[in-house]
Symmetry: C2
Subunit: 558 residues, 2 copies
């Protein structure tokens, strides 16, 4: 009985998604039942040199693998589903998501050879999923991808609501507004704790309707004299639909370029989320057979990604399409923080090749966010009326801003928990408090390696990137310790060798002197000898150049 | 006569500042007289790994050193004066600037041991400077540093106006508005060509007055219960003045921290640009002796620079001051493009240590730009009424936007020249056309090295930063080519060695096999042997890890 009692509390925490944008993974545990919400990835920060993607550390889940009842997905964005191929390989549990979300997941799992090994369940807003003592239902929300849901979890300790990523779009493109009636119903029944999206908590007002973008696009199409090229996020099927509609209205054909865009358009059409008139789509190869005013191109690259279709088109390095003077290019997106410069460079390059460029700074309305602003967030809080509140999905200052909004609509300050990943909020007898922290962290993925790059490797990459490396090689005699060959100094990323011969000659002399000195002092241990060389050379180079290249002494013995 | 004729044209071009933000350097040449406007530096782009600063390539000036009559400075920002210590070392010419600008320049030249070698002339809005056949006068403009001027050059071919960086501030903090009367006068006399600041050409409306920031600061001071810490650009003396005034009004003492901030405050007070009541300033060491509500701190770090005073205070690593719960911290700045993430991290950290953080997203009005928006730019164009127009100081899309503004106020499209650095616009007989391009480029400064780091070094640093390096060393016998020692493989920045022993063992085997194969095929040239090792190892590692570390084979012979 005691044992059961100690277990029967409700714990809520994140393995990813708090104090960061990306790798969302939230855990709700009651007794021996664990439910996971989302399994995202994060794109590397600037200082994570050479890293491809980052996923959450799931040690906690692996240590409790027999208790994990399933993974519920809120929607199909990479920061919510991108970690699945890595995580399911280690933790084979059922995955639940709406039709479009599962369509995107299946594509990923097929590539990772995990499709047949994974139990997959498609849910909708009428589904009830039993996960041990926890029961999940789902309600529609609006977001920049269709088929996004919020999740209501009934637990013996009380009701927990997770909004997923959301906004309230009063005039949604597909006619499916966020289900405020269901939210009101849930709120009326009483909610113990709300977890809600904080991305735009710093932004005043309501977030605009996706339909506004359609109107802005219509204006662009109407004015365009030659080809129209629209770049946007591949997953924003609502926006893709509006480009399709505008092309159709203006009697233009549409070519789709960029691997992820082609993929989403195919899945969207196959599953009925994208309505494309017959004969509208053309192959990119056929563009040049049509007059310019009959052509629309839809492309990836709205973030100025160097390898994207749009960037390659702008630089004339795309295999099939080149931007021509007079083309109208629309970047239907705003830069994600950190991408401002690459986007600006792409806009500059497009102007340079003669395009008429429409971008967020030049024309209002070609993008709206998928995340609710302050008024959306207050509306959610007022509908759900939670006793406790945990702002999720955002960096610290966004969680702060969201917590202030919650206070203004009446949540008691002491009932708000601003958490980091791994902070556990425990509920018992209707009361909440912090529990013991669980292990969290970034698992770095570089090529095929999952977790084999850590701080030491990153520190070395950082060092190498700043001032390069000097390798010092010398061969000694096993018999008498005399130098048989070298010292040879090879540098990479340090200086132009041709212009710095004198410097490197002097460096060579320093190494020889150091070795002679060590020999006369009878320093025979290689480690000390290497340290002496490294120190002497480092001092010399810093003095001459104010640089600190990595120095790698290698001593061979024959 | 013919020779003279061929010379007596007017040429205008930039050695830096076009299609970029930074390293401004414009050249006006008439016959044998060359006038340079500004000598700035640029902070390195992300891909310039390890580089400290970038200055313009001044080959053109060095090749024409006997013709350079002087360098005129518009104002004291780094992107306009920061290149001087490097450039004056190679080109000893007189430098002209206003009192504050020259105060800041002197500080730089003193550090570079160039102060006594350089002829320095202080100018004001009544100065007339004769530079060979070119005569310069100056007119006040408003900018985010006091004592900024535009320049009017009278040449035998016509009048050329360079705005410098500017906006029109109708209620300037120091009471000195941009001299519209002088601009009107110049415009009335007739201007051949205008060069005008394009930084904010994408931004609608007028740029706000610096005085608005003072009002916003006043509100912050009024509400603050404990210490107030304001971070802003060190050079913005107007803003510093307003912090001084607010501190004085609210009977708080003021401590200044951050090397560049202390420097500017000293120069500003010394030269009379900053009015500080006696006893207002206190030493940072004395802060803790005063009650919290009596303290203001003014600091660098508004861009979240990792080594700045504010960042160190936020992380508890500043020697003298630590942010305490309840402190109000104002970031009176918006992030410069590229700094969004570091600023956001600083705000997050300040919240984490319990500060009440006021930043651009949380409160409107704590920053205004120093550059004119679209209406300011049109006002300038309308006052100066140039025949020809060259949009300067901005990236390509800003130059484009500025050119569109010029068209709307009546400049003929064929009279607008959107140039890159090195594009020469030649004026002769009142007509303009493109001339032969001049050499331009980025000179990269890394430590003490000026220009000894170029594309090959940067490419190596980039490679090293992505997947690290593997050094393969082997010692061969001079006599029979047999392996005497090795192959040894040492890696840095590639994988955790401990977790990848098997991989590195296999790599070792691959090298041995390759060398044996080469030996059996009688490959004796080291270059081919090295290439074979590099290829085999690269293929193996890519196959196993999908990474491409730099591979450096080193063969020693004894």
């Amino acid at each position: 009985m005691t044992k059961n009692n100690s277990r029967s509390k409700l714990s809520i925490f994140a393995l990813g998604g708090l104090d960061e944008i990306g790798k969302n993974m939230y855990v709700i545990r009651y007794g021996d039942d664990i439910v996971v919400i989302d399994s995202g990835l994060m794109f590397p920060e600037d200082e994570m040199l050479g890293i491809d993607v980052v996923i959450p550390d799931i040690t906690y889940l692996l240590e409790n693998r027999d208790k994990v009842r399933g993974i519920l997905l809120t929607h199909g964005h990479e920061d919510h589903i991108g970690g699945l191929p890595y995580i399911l390989r280690e933790l084979n549990v059922p995955v639940y998501g709406t039709k479009l979300t599962m369509g995107l997941v299946e594509h990923k799992l097929r590539e990772a050879h995990l499709l047949n090994k994974t139990k997959r369940v498609i849910i909708n807003n009428r589904s009830e999923v039993k996960l041990g003592s926890i029961q999940a239902t789902f309600f529609k929300v609006n977001h920049s991808i269709p088929d996004a849901v919020g999740i209501c979890l009934e637990t013996p300790e009380g009701r927990v609501v997770h909004t997923g990523d959301f906004k309230f779009d009063m005039t949604p493109v597909n006619g499916q507004a966020a289900d405020m009636h269901r939210m009101a119903e849930i709120g009326k029944k009483g909610v113990l704790c709300l977890l809600s999206d904080s991305t735009n908590a710093e932004r005043p007002g309501f977030t605009g309707s996706e339909r506004n973008v359609g109107e802005a696009l219509e204006t662009v199409f109407r004015k365009a004299k030659q080809r129209v090229i629209v770049a946007t996020f591949a997953s924003n099927i609502h926006r893709i639909q509006q480009v399709v509609d505008a092309a159709d209205l203006h009697k233009r054909k549409l070519a789709v370029v960029g691997r992820s865009m082609v993929n989403v358009v195919n899945i969207g059409m196959e599953l009925g989320y994208l309505r494309v008139p017959p004969d509208l789509l053309i192959d990119p190869d056929d563009i040049n057979r049509l007059p310019a005013h009959k052509v629309t191109v839809m492309s990836t690259g709205s973030q100025g990604e160097p390898m994207s279709a749009l960037t390659r088109m702008a630089h004339g390095s795309h295999r099939k399409i080149e931007i021509l003077p007079g083309d109208t290019v629309v970047l239907a997106a705003t830069p994600i923080p950190g991408n401002e410069k690459t986007v600006a460079r792409t806009v500059d390059q497009l102007f340079r090749v003669g395009a008429n460029v429409v971008y967020s700074a030049s024309q209002h309305g070609v993008h709206v966010s998928g995340h609710g602003s302050q008024e959306d967030l207050k509306l959610m809080l007022n509908l759900i009326k939670p006793k406790y509140f945990i702002p999720i999905h955002g960096e610290h200052r966004m969680q702060r801003a969201h917590s202030q909004l919650a206070e203004t609509v009446g949540v008691r300050p002491e009932h708000i928990f601003i958490c980091e990943n791994g902070d556990v909020v425990e509920f018992s007898g209707g009361k909440a408090r912090y529990g013991a922290k669980v292990q969290t962290g970034n698992v770095l993925i570089d090529g095929l390696g999952v977790g084999d790059v850590g701080n030491i490797v990153l520190r070395d990459r950082k060092l190498l990137s700043q001032d390069g490396i000097l390798v010092v090689v010398v061969t000694l005699s096993k018999n008498n310790g005399k130098i048989l060959s070298g010292p040879d100094i090879i540098s990479r990323g340090f200086v132009y060798v041709r212009e710095s011969e004198k410097l490197l000659d002097e460096a060579n002399r320093i190494v020889t002197q150091t070795m002679e000195k060590c020999a006369s002092e009878r320093v025979s241990e290689w480690a000390s000898l290497k340290t002496s060389i490294r120190d002497a050379l480092s001092r010399f180079l810093y003095d001459k150049t104010r640089r600190r290249p990595m120095i790698l002494p290698i001593i061979m013995e024959v």
